[in-house]
Symmetry: C2
Subunit: 402 residues, 2 copies
Amino acid sequence: MNVVVAQSGGPTAVINASLLGVYRQARLWDKVDVVYGSLNGIEGILNDRLVNLNEQLDTDEQQKLLRQTPSAALRSCRYKLPTAEKAPEVYEQIRATLEKHDIGAFFYIGGNDSMDTVDKLSAYFASVDSPIRVMGVPKTIDNDLCLMDHTPGYGSAAKFVATSMWEMIRDCTVYELDSVLIVEIMGRDTGWLTASAALPRLFGCDAPHLVYLPEVEFTADRFIKDVQQAQKKSRTVIVAVSEGVELDSLENYQSGKVDNFGHKYLSGVGKCLEELVRERIGCKVRSVELNILQRCAAHIASETDLTEAESLGAVSVKAAAQGHTGMVSAIVSRNTQDYIPSYGIVPVCDVANKIKYVPREWINEAGNDVLPAALEYIRPLIIGEPNILTENGLARHFIIKE
Amino acid sequence: MNVVVAQSGGPTAVINASLLGVYRQARLWDKVDVVYGSLNGIEGILNDRLVNLNEQLDTDEQQKLLRQTPSAALRSCRYKLPTAEKAPEVYEQIRATLEKHDIGAFFYIGGNDSMDTVDKLSAYFASVDSPIRVMGVPKTIDNDLCLMDHTPGYGSAAKFVATSMWEMIRDCTVYELDSVLIVEIMGRDTGWLTASAALPRLFGCDAPHLVYLPEVEFTADRFIKDVQQAQKKSRTVIVAVSEGVELDSLENYQSGKVDNFGHKYLSGVGKCLEELVRERIGCKVRSVELNILQRCAAHIASETDLTEAESLGAVSVKAAAQGHTGMVSAIVSRNTQDYIPSYGIVPVCDVANKIKYVPREWINEAGNDVLPAALEYIRPLIIGEPNILTENGLARHFIIKE
């Protein structure tokens, strides 16, 4: 019997650590001969583009390089699987490829949308009495999957955001003039990643002075008042804002395009607020969009996150070996006192297409800052620096051969 | 006798390593009692805001923290010193503060504009027969100072740019669709930093496919043709572009504001080209502005750069001890075979207000790429990773006490 693994959705710094975890554990599974990788997520199975990972991840060095390489080594897709009722031929095609390669289990590393695929496929295989197991491995910098304490990819993104914020605080506080810095942070629906921008507070730092999450209402008037209030205490006011904050009057600045899953493409909240400060306050103002850097900055990945991502890949394989299907591995809870994560599996149908928000009680009453409880939650997730193999002053990356 | 040191201009990841170099060497100078730091550059001398660095840089730990802290620990200024003819009172005030604190030498760590201050002040003190020596220590991520092989700050910024580009190449090549990524890189007049975006080529990587420096003419038509040509070979086309490229038709997108030195504030070349691709080609396109991150990313500083920055601080102090004034320390040349930098001092009047451009022969004939000679020049400057003291998963920073 063989198994196949694929990656999907937006890149993270640790999605390849999960791939490594799946690979290593699958090689320990006595029933498994070949671990295949499907290129471009589920599309690789539809198009029969599988690569033999046994040949490419044979050595310790290859495995170490894979672990330190950001983004999806097996590439990704944004393919939305139709329902089995609407497109039975798609399911039959997937089944045909898997049976052709004697695949007993399929592992899908991805976020919310990928979990939807795991849910549909596992239900389909059960409905046709196929023994093929389908398991999810969680991944998202957004940290918005339900039934989990946190998701792999989040800790590393948070470490990049917090590090960048900490460095920009140094950068922006050197001049003797009134200025505002606005930092726009990813997070389609939730403010988990934006909250991490407040981690410099752990050093007793006042900045960032304002933190806006999409979980609470946002208005232009209130924003300007908040900035003016903050300026009374600090000549440099630093603002962290989620790309997902909603405000009618900001919509003109946003592209309004929609992707395959119906998500709106967001851009320009930071630029929009920059213009607002320029018009309404008139001081020096700059906006910085952390953009895709925050999801692929493997050079500053969290070792905690890398280790957990790898472990979760292994947990899914172990569960499949025990006969589970339609489940996703998860860090289900933690021992808060000394941060010991508990691993487990949860039903993918309870994860897919659901969103976990930042608790309202972690946000201050005014809705313009996060409270210490949020920082205590994030802090352990960004701990540790990986030991990175370099060449020419740059990290070496693993590149898949097709 | 005492000495004073100040920092000026835009932040870098290693300007504090130069401060440390000045401090350590000045403490070894037998005639010196106190090393003062002037807050906010020359403004701190005008306003008599000096801090005793002996008290704050006493321990190995304080010195190590200073070295790993980005941006100017003594803060900065953008103050343009008027000529002594126009404003003799300013010079007299500076002299009064320095004499009040028994200052025998003033060290100014900065870029082109700060060297102008060193030039004017040293000429003034010579003209009034004052024994006060004024020495420059070079610093600029732009790498555009004349008479130098390269400048401290450049190597670390180049390492951040190259690392980010290398990671974004991974990020952007995972989907099976035609797309363009445009990365906008700092460099007011010169393309040194933008050239570093091509360092992933050292791994045999095709990307970035196009590299535009301000040293050559840039036209929208040519850019679109270049992208279309590149799309024939690669579905993902990655472009590195300097903020300083000049094109009349792009001017509407740029702010056109001017700073104290008459430099235009540049912004939005990347966004502008993004719009151009969207209108004229119509594929998926994204622009990323590396923004201030590239000048303060101490977490990925080049150890080579840190070491050289520190050494240059020491070189200026040694030269002052030998009686020099109106000079700036410099890495004047290198042994190219095994990269051994040669340190020296050069007359500041030959450095101030002059610009060193990327040689035309390091740019391809079409003006849309850099040649291997450029990469060979940059490669040794980004080598080495500093050992960083962390707490809570973040680098610890040195904060000056006033």
